[in-house]
């Protein structure tokens, strides 16, 4: 008993050392990162960097280079990350044009435009740095050095670009009674003149006391040209796809019945094609 009490000084010593060590390593002489990769940035800065990737892609239409840049973030699904950022931008009242650039890259990421071809020339790109190669410099410990990694990424050139300005026509309009999808879901699909899904197309939904604006391509896993909107019962909606397209009116939740006679609200499927 007396011997146990006498050993408390060891625990006291460890605690004193622990407090001093933590204070020194976190406050007095903390680790400082240098030569970091974009994956090490904070969430807001990562969003800013990703936005820049999307804007550069819109400018140069070089999907290979944009994909190489997106791989720097170690995202499991870059297209999904881009789509989610586009949605956050719109939800936060941000610039719709920026959201559109993000949505465009999200849509093209896994579905490259058939018009893009790999050129024979190669230009430098950036390769992702493996986590173990990222340099972490600690002021109190020796620094690991590394040389910048630059590799060659095939560069896509463009024969022609689809235009989003051409008006869209309604090609198909049908009520959807499917209990497997959310009730009152308004589904929109936009395709270009060749029938290929088209991302980044503006969709405007209006009703008696409100409106909503969004873009196709935010759900690349469904289709690059897909968008949807959740309707409420007893409200009639109008919808326009594109900036100069035909306005579709009289959209509302329709009563449906499943196989057991239970009623639920159905939705709409609208397909638009570019002229």
């Amino acid at each position: 008993m007396n011997e146990n009490r006498n050993n408390w000084f060891l625990l006291t010593g460890i605690l004193i050392g622990l407090v001093l060590g933590v204070l020194y390593s976190l406050v007095v002489n903390p680790v400082t990162y240098v030569d970091a990769s974009p994956a090490s940035l904070g969430p807001a800065d990562q969003d800013e960097y990703r936005l820049m990737v999307a804007l550069a892609y819109r400018a140069d239409r070089d999907l290979g280079r944009a994909q190489a840049r997106m791989r720097l973030f170690d995202d499991e699904n870059p297209a999904y990350t881009l789509g989610a950022q586009a949605q956050r931008t719109l939800a936060d009242g941000g610039d719709a044009d920026l959201a559109r650039a993000l949505a465009q890259l999200a849509a093209d990421y896994n579905n490259p435009l058939p018009i893009a071809v790999v050129a024979a020339t190669e230009t430098p790109g950036i390769t992702p740095t493996p986590p173990e190669a990222q340099m972490l410099q600690e002021t109190a410990t020796p620094q690991v050095t590394a040389t910048p990694l630059v590799t060659f990424t095939p560069r896509a050139t463009l024969r022609s670009l689809p235009t989003l300005a051409a008006p869209f026509d309604l090609r198909q309009r049908e009520i959807v009674c499917d209990p497997a999808i959310p009730e009152g879901l308004l589904q929109i699909e936009a395709v270009d003149g060749n029938g290929d899904p088209l991302a980044g197309v503006q969709v405007q939904v209006t009703w008696s006391d409100g409106e909503d604006l969004f873009y196709t391509g935010l759900y690349p896993r469904v289709s690059p040209g897909y968008a949807d909107f959740q309707m409420e019962p007893d409200i009639v909606y109008s919808l326009r796809v594109g900036e100069a397209g035909e306005t579709v009116t009289g959209l509302y939740t329709s009563p449906c019945e499943d196989g057991e006679g239970n009623s639920y609200w159905g939705g709409w499927l609208l397909r638009f094609g570019q002229q």
Binding site: G17, Y24, D35, S37, M52, A56
Partner: protein, 120 residues
């Protein structure tokens, strides 16, 4: 001459110190990785400048380019562009990329903020 008890006490402090330093330098930083953009490796900064230059070439908006370049830090923005052009030359960027950055650099030198523009 220190007693055995004093020696053990000092050893315990040393052990605690080692554990505390290991936590602060190796465990905690790995869990919380929040690096400011100015600590990006130079080739990543160069690529960022190239993206701004490509966007500027498409949009022609110098004010936006200046704002975007301030992402890299508080230095005058042309410092970042010049450094990027230097790195691009050393690491084998294409002539087209260097020219794109050069066009941005020239535009920034002659750019004067307008009263109705957001001055970063």
């Amino acid at each position: 001459m220190p007693t055995k008890r004093t020696t053990y006490f000092l050893l315990a402090i040393f052990a605690g110190l080692v554990i505390g330093l290991a936590f602060g330098w190796f465990v905690k930083p790995a869990a919380v990785r929040r690096v400011a953009p100015q600590h990006l490796r130079q080739d990543y900064q160069t690529d960022y400048v190239l993206m701004v230059a490509e966007t500027y070439a498409s949009e022609g908006n110098a004010a936006s380019a200046v704002e975007r370049l301030h992402f890299l830090g508080d230095e005058p923005v042309n410092v970042y562009v010049r450094q990027a052009m230097l790195t691009a030359g050393q690491t084998g960027y294409s002539q087209q990329d260097v020219e794109t950055m050069n066009a941005l650099s020239m535009a920034l030198q002659s750019w004067i903020p307008q009263p109705d523009e957001d001055i970063p």
